[in-house]
Amino acid sequence: MLADRLLWLIPAFPFAAFLVNGLLGRRLTRNAAHWPALAAVGLSFASALLVLRHAVEHTSWQATLFTWITAGTLDVPLKLSADPLTAVMLVVVTGVSFLVHLYSVGYMHGDGGYPRFFAYLSLFTFSMLMLVLAGNFLLLYVFWEAVGLCSYLLIGFWFHKKSAADAGKKAFLVNRVGDFGFALGILLLIASTGSVDYQRVFAMVPQLPPATVTLICLLLFVGAAGKSAQLPLHVWLPDAMEGPTPVSALIHAATMVTAGVYMVARCNALFSASPTAMQVVAVVGTATAVMAAAIALTQTDLKRIMAYSTVSQLGFMFLGLGVGAWVGAIFHLFTHAFFKALLFLGSGSVMHAVGGDVDITRQGRLARHIPWTTTTFVVGSLALAGIFPFAGFFSKELILGAAFAGHHYVLFGFGVLAAGGTAFYVFRAVFSVFFGTREADALHPAPAAEAHGGHDDAGHGGSGHGHGAGGVHESPWVMLAPLVILAVMSLVAGWPLEHGFAEFLGRVLPSGEHGGEVPGALLAEALAIVMALAGLAFAWATYQKGAIDPDRIAGSWPRLYALSKNKFYVDELYDAVIVRPLLALARGALRFDLGAIDGLVNGVAAAARGWGAALARLQSGRVRDYLSWMALGLAVVLGVLIWR
């Protein structure tokens, strides 16, 4: 059947592209490496649209390739399944992936690892598609790890840079913590239900003891928290910005980091059965949303602001999941994928323009030099801030409205606070970089050398762009086209909500506990948008008009400012509590290894050598000595014979 084959084709295209670029990249494709990758993702996108159309009519279907593992009663087939949730994820993944591939053609142009980059990107796309298509938990887990591997490879893409290599390692290690919990959760699932198949597991949920369900949910959520950078495992995502910017846009904003959200939504039958787990998800999500937004307020690196923004928005999604706004969370995932990918690609375009990392305090008034980037970036920012009628408005309102309607007033309050912070920090960046009161350093001839200093960070080092005073230039069309498409999507992605989108997702996701209208809900939603507008206005007054001095505000609350500026000292805490003790333990083990283990081995050798040296003296080389020994031996033998 065509629909079945379609499911296999979607991941097969990028995998084929990965093989082509991975095996032949150095010799064959080289600077044309983008063609197989682009074609593959394009075909996947077309297939994903077909799957979406099929899903609208048939809701869900499966395609089994073969039996993968049979062990006792456990039977794990290599099975793909599709339903509305999968279809939406497929369209998001392939769509954003295609645009990011296109953008990378311009951004990565001239990089030494050009075919390698596209090979990794294709491998990631394949893994992510398999992750959302997987029909059972074990397959999900395999590709859960695979996207983690791709993330590691792509963060450390410029592996010769120590910070990038370290960031890759950190991402991998922090994810390991989460994945460990995830693996335990799956094992517990197998132990208690005897199956890993989605349908069978979810059908068995009512028969399981509530404590088991809660434990399974919490363990699965540990995995989700690791992958989706929720407290306290969020530390890897900001560092992941060491990777090339298209990677940040695709993996660390639009797709991979939302795998946790997808997984929790996929397991809605499990989570719905455990109010405790739901509460944990909601609280962790809200805490992450608020804290990440608070950190983003004071960061100065454009990509880092976006990274914390991603963490914060993922927190929003988990808040939505936790309060039972399943559709809202997935819808926010959907809209967020577009506007956050747009913001990252826009940041990359700014980096391309000024030739290096973007410190927002050293930028300004770039708008008239890079009008396309500016326009699209502002659109993305409006969507992120949740201003009507941009996409973020609809999804955020859906989540906050559900939190309010579910009587989670505290969570709602913090959510609104985070929404206000979001609007402030993103427009702080917008005004500082594109408008504002000062001109960017890159616009002046003097610090040209400095501008070049950070150039290789942008990943196209040595490509010979002129980045002098007049060197601030708009990106080529391959980079601008994705920006424009994503900007359009950021504007319109919120509109299908009322036109079938919610109903479509509602076929597989429960609609939540809030059936009817709750008094004051409209007021609550209005409050959220007022907060967003207030944040925007505050940013405008501070960074555009200069009416408010940000340094004075920072000076009034030095403790709070330091807390935000230093990212709540989480990295320092982990360094002190985990990294240093581990290193001390490792050093102790090294000493033990060198002293005791090696000492034992070396001691045996030294003893043998010592005995040898002592006995060697017997071999004097003098015949008479040997004869004396012989005579002595003879005397002893005779003595024994005689006196016995």
Partner: protein
């Protein structure tokens, strides 16, 4: 005819003198001579027992020993000659090339 113990005593004395000569003297020629003394002490024993038991085996072995001894002496003297040409002396303690 003297009792066999006399022959044995003479053999033991000759053997001890030969052994002492080998151990004490450093001149290789003298050492070789001492070795001959020890060998002949053994020969004396063989002949004495052969006589005691009225059996020729011991006698025959003694004859064989004398024959082999002659060959051995040829080899030993050749080695001593070579050693003397190489080192210019006959001191056995000087030959320590195989010292451990």
């Amino acid at each position: 005819m003297a009792p066999v113990s006399w022959y044995l005593a003479l053999g033991a004395v000759l053997f001890a003198i030969g052994l002492a000569g080998v151990l004490v003297r450093r001149n290789v020629v003298v050492m070789l001579m001492s070795v001959e003394l020890m060998v002949n002490a053994v020969n004396l024993n063989l002949v004495a027992f052969s006589n005691l038991h009225a059996h020729y085996t011991g006698l025959v072995i003694a004859l064989f020993v004398i024959g082999v001894e002659a060959a051995e002496l040829g080899v030993a003297l050749a080695i001593i000659l070579a050693w003397h040409r190489h080192a210019g002396r006959l001191d056995a303690d000087g030959a320590t090339l195989l010292k451990g």
